[in-house]
């Protein structure tokens, strides 16, 4: 069993060894190129190992980690995103010769390790450890910005404090859940005979609050625009994509055991409506593109939660496609931002800087527009099909309120995405060439690859879904199998503990 826990998710193993290797190499000799190469190699190896199951999971035995298609899929998404983000930051790090920043790739790798560990965990402990590894790496990553030290330190402090509070709430919830069930198994606590019904409910609520905080669902969303704005562009992409995928993946696993309790259902509905409307409304008045992406990512979390709340035949497809669409489009937007960002003072995140892009960089402007339209859910981007799937899943479950929120949110969302495109199309009469817009060929190449993914995925989504479609469908009964006996044992233990 220990062997199983150690070796089951091979990406975890690869990522941990890679991190240690990088630490050794940094201790030996500081070289940013070497660290970046080790980071890239580790991520690629982990990606290659995602599909390999070293040992088979034992049923009925409480394990720390679980490896199934859902975990494999989200891990692959996380690793691919991390590779993209490493590519986005590569050139910036190499250029910054004044400050040797080996810590950056190290923290990026650690963050990925934390995210991956969350995805694989079937127990509160590795989940919480992963969450904290991810969170603490993010604090460092956000602050790692030498030209904007004040802004980034502020963002980092904000994240440190708010993430600390949410972790504390989450940990309290986990503690209550353990008190109620005597098990650390990663599923909502079920009341047993000995204790009052309030404790499991309180535990589930607190855990959910912690998760919503990290996911930046609306009443707990205040940190994300500030933090993403303070961070450098690749790190902002990391927050928007990797950490959200990891926490969403854990959320799906957490509630995969069975029907959600009714009060949680209602709470979730309220939170989703608030998230969709709040995120979109916040994004309306933003002047910074990073902040706009932060707010729109809040709204996208709302759409994802909609699919999460609509179990049915279409649910798994909706979640799978939407995650892929969100990841590809968001990374695409951030790679275009990076490709245009100067290495000087401005980083091109202010929307006003984008004026006249269609005339100065027509190619990147077209890619950017496609990405934004895909995020808005307009064909031929993959976002169109993704939003369609979300709507289909919700219609199947007749979530009328949520659908109304989806329609209103989409129209608002369309407005601010179009606003960016409109700005790019406005001819820049006064050519403001105060900073040097340097064209990075490899970033343009990355943006192109993402564009191809977005368009091919939008035109032929069937090929994209088919291999991974059964993921949550098979995982739900499967994990139900593994959980059910475990809850029994846990309950026995709990009863045993309480009534000696």
């Amino acid at each position: 069993m220990i062997a199983h826990d150690l070796f089951v998710p091979s990406p975890l193993l690869v990522l941990s060894s890679g991190t240690m290797l990088m630490l050794v190499s940094i201790a030996w000799r500081r070289s940013i190129t070497l660290s970046l190469s080790i980071g890239l190699l580790t991520l690629l190896l982990a990606l290659a190992g995602t599909d390999h199951h070293l040992t088979t999971g034992q049923h009925g035995v409480a394990t720390l980690f679980i490896q199934d298609r859902w975990a494999d899929y989200t891990t692959a998404l996380i690793l691919l995103s991390s590779i993209c983000i490493l590519g986005l930051s590569w050139r910036n790090l190499l250029h910054d010769t004044a400050h040797p920043t080996d810590e950056y790739p190290l923290l990026l790798l650690l963050g990925t390790l934390g995210a991956t560990s969350m995805v694989f965990s079937a127990n509160y402990i590795p989940f919480f450890l992963g969450l904290e590894i991810l969170g603490i790496s993010l604090i460092g990553l956000v602050a790692a910005r030498h030209h904007h030290l004040t802004a980034s330190s502020e963002a980092s402090m904000k994240y440190l404090i708010l993430s600390g509070i949410s972790s504390a709430i989450l940990l309290f919830g986990i503690g209550l859940a353990y008190a109620a069930t005597g098990s650390l198994y990663f599923s909502p606590p079920v009341a047993t005979d000995g204790i009052s019904h309030g404790i499991p409910i309180a535990a589930a609520t607190m855990i959910l609050v912690g998760i919503f905080f990290k996911l930046s669902a609306v009443p707990f969303h205040m940190w994300i625009p500030d933090v993403m704005e303070g961070a450098s562009t690749p790190v902002a992409a990391f927050i928007a994509v990797v950490s959200k995928i990891a926490i969403f993946s854990s959320l799906v696993r957490y509630f995969s055991a069975g029907e959600m309790q009714p009060f949680l259902n209602d709470t979730m509905t309220a939170v989703i409506i608030l998230t969709i409307l709040g995120g979109n409304l916040l994004a309306l008045r933003q002047t910074s593109l990073t902040r706009l992406m932060a707010c729109s990512s809040i709204a996208h979390v709302g759409y994802l939660l909609m699919a999460f709340l609509s179990p049915g035949q279409l649910q798994s497809g909706a979640i799978v496609v939407y995650l892929a669409a969100y990841t590809a489009s968001t990374l695409g937007v951030f790679s275009v931002i990076s490709a245009l960002a100067a290495n000087g003072d401005t980083d091109g995140t202010s929307i006003a800087d984008w004026k006249g892009l269609f005339f100065s960089h027509p190619f990147l402007a077209v890619i950017m527009s496609l990405m934004l339209l895909s995020l808005a859910g307009i064909p031929p981007g993959i976002g169109f099909f993704a939003k369609f799937e979300i709507a289909a899943a919700s219609v199947e479950r007749q979530r009328d309120l949520l659908l109304a929120a989806l329609v209103i949110g989409s129209v608002i969302g369309l407005y601010y995405y179009l606003n960016v495109i409109r700005t790019m199309m406005t001819p820049d009469i006064v050519q403001i060439v105060t900073y040097n817009r340097k064209n990075y060929p490899e970033l343009t190449g990355l943006a192109l690859v993402l564009t191809i993914i977005v368009i091919v995925g939008g035109l032929f989504p069937a090929r994209l879904i088919r291999p991974i479609l059964p993921a949550p469908v098979t995982i739900i009964p499967r994990s139900a199998n593994t959980i059910a006996p475990d809850i029994d044992t846990a309950m026995r233990y709990a009863i045993h503990d309480i009534s000696p």
Partner: protein, 502 residues
């Protein structure tokens, strides 16, 4: 081999080539702008040839539908690439092609800035429109429906006139927002069918057989109706139209008024009436009232406009009120009238927008107070303008009259009061059309008139051919009526017969 996929793909590919041809050297002058224009023209000629082939091909399948094409797309969701053509689609496809030629021949050659992108977007819009007219898989239909908006948005927003950004965003938000309601209706229908039979499919013919409760079918019908009503446009949701038409570049206005609006009418016939006949019948009084309101409101607003393009835009609202009235009159005559009116309105208003665009190119204004007495300086342009203005006011012998007359007959049978009110709209139409003609063409020439060039003869040939179509449509509409209506009406009656495997 069915020519239908080629019909959809040729403009898209042609557009891509037109863009690439223009791409590498955007510094050059006239020669290079011509290259993408030539490619566009070739694509349209090729499209015409395919359409001729599709028209005169012996129907390969039994049943009233002329042609079918099916290919799997997303099997796990029951979505396939299904294109079907009947007389209605075919006549609207012909309208699309006939209007695309004057667009490209008369209006797009002047585009100097990013001509390649302009032609790509123009052809992409045409792709979306053609796809909309052919798709019979509801997902595919929705895909094309949304697809045609983006290029149109960019066309207005990048090449339009002074207030283009606001107009473009308004256009996009209205059409997209209502499109989402249609998406929900589509999904509601599909899910209802799924619950009934256990089969997940987006196929039009299969879904037509779904049994729905009266209230559900009404809700679903309304979702479709709102989307089509925004496009058509019907009065309370017409707000985007005057701005978009006024601000769009000439070719964009022609596409918008001539063809894009017809997708709304087409959708009402194909989806509202065919998929939900009972609900549509119950909804008909409201729809007809909206139609009458549109006719009167559009005409009234049109009388008060000084901007030529805005005047034509409001007159479109009025004319398309007839289409709504005819479609929901519940009779075959009304339906035929609506279709004739759609085609005639496309031709006459498209041509009017071309002429208004030419006037703006020459005089750099659309204000009727600043334009006056063009007859002496531009007799050809003015003559054509007079012809199309008279056509659009419903002169007997021209296509618009045939359509409006049929609609009026059908309306009289249902509700004489509505027919009488509608006739008032015709009087208003005469007022605003003649006012425009008087101001622009017939009034005494202005003292500060800049020297202008008239239409060259080759432009007149193109406009002349549109005139011929209108005259034929007006004098002898019978073949069009028999050709364009019957097959859509028989689908719902015999879905099984149509369903015969291709």
């Amino acid at each position: 081999m069915s020519p239908l996929p080629a019909l959809v793909l040729v403009p898209a590919l042609g557009g891509a080539i037109a863009w690439l041809v223009d791409r590498p050297r955007f510094v050059g002058a006239r020669k290079i702008t011509d290259a993408s224009w030539r490619v566009t023209l070739m694509a349209l000629v090729l499209e015409t040839l395919i359409l001729v082939l599709a028209t005169f091909r012996r129907p390969a399948h039994p049943g009233p539908w002329l042609d079918h094409f099916t290919a799997p797309w997303i099997p796990s969701m029951g979505i396939s690439i299904r294109l079907d053509m009947d007389g209605l689609s075919l006549s609207l496809l012909w309208l699309t092609i006939i209007l695309s030629f004057p667009c490209v021949l008369l209006a797009t050659r002047q585009i100097r800035v990013n001509a390649g992108a302009f032609h790509f977007l123009l052809l992409a819009t045409i792709t979306g429109i053609i796809g909309t007219f052919l798709a019979t898989d509801l997902f595919l239909f929705f895909f094309f429906w949304e697809l045609m908006l983006v290029p149109m948005f960019v066309l207005i927003s990048a090449w339009g006139h002074e207030g283009r950004h606001r107009a473009a965003i308004k256009f996009f938000l209205f059409t997209q927002g209502s499109g989402l309601l249609m998406l929900l209706s589509i999904l509601g229908l599909v899910v209802a069918h799924f619950h009934e039979t256990g089969v997940l499919t987006f196929d039009y013919f299969t879904l037509a057989a779904t049994r729905l409760s009266p209230s559900l079918s009404m809700v679903l019908m309304l979702g479709f109706f709102i989307a089509f009503a925004v496009k058509l446009p019907v009065v309370p949701v017409h707000v985007w139209l005057p701005d978009a038409h006024t601000q769009a570049p000439t070719a964009g206005s022609v596409l918008l008024a001539g063809i894009l609006l017809k997708t709304g009418g087409y959708g009402m016939i194909r989806f509202n009436i065919m998929l939900f006949p009972e609900a549509a019948e119950r909804f008909a009084p409201i729809a007809m009232a909206l139609g009458v309101a549109g006719i009167l409101y559009g005409a009234w607003m049109s009388c008060a406009q000084n901007d030529v393009k805005r005047l034509i835009a409001y007159s479109s609202i009025s004319h398309l009120g007839f289409v709504l009235l005819g479609i929901f009159s519940g009779s075959r005559t009304g339906m035929q009238g609506a279709i004739i009116q759609m085609i005639a309105h496309g031709l006459s208003t498209g041509a009017l927008f071309l002429i208004a665009g030419s006037i703006q190119d020459r005089l750099h204004t659309r204000d009727m107070h600043q334009i006056g007495g063009l007859w002496t300086s531009m007799p050809r342009l003015s003559g054509a303008g007079l012809f199309f203005a008279v056509a659009s006011l419903g002169m007997p012998g021209l296509g618009n009259f045939a359509g409006e007359f049929l609609v009026l007959i059908a309306t009289w049978h249902v509700s004489p009061a509505a027919a009488v009110l509608t006739t008032a709209g015709l009087v208003l139409a005469a007022i605003y059309s003649l006012r425009m003609v008087n101001r622009i063409f017939l009034a005494p020439e202005r003292a500060d008139q800049q020297p202008v060039t008239d239409f060259p003869a080759r432009h007149m040939i193109i406009l002349g051919s549109i005139m011929i179509f209108l005259v034929v449509l007006g004098l002898y509409p019978q073949p069009f009526m028999t050709f364009s209506t019957p097959s859509p009406l028989s689908i719902t009656a015999e879905p099984d017969k149509v369903e015969s495997p291709p």
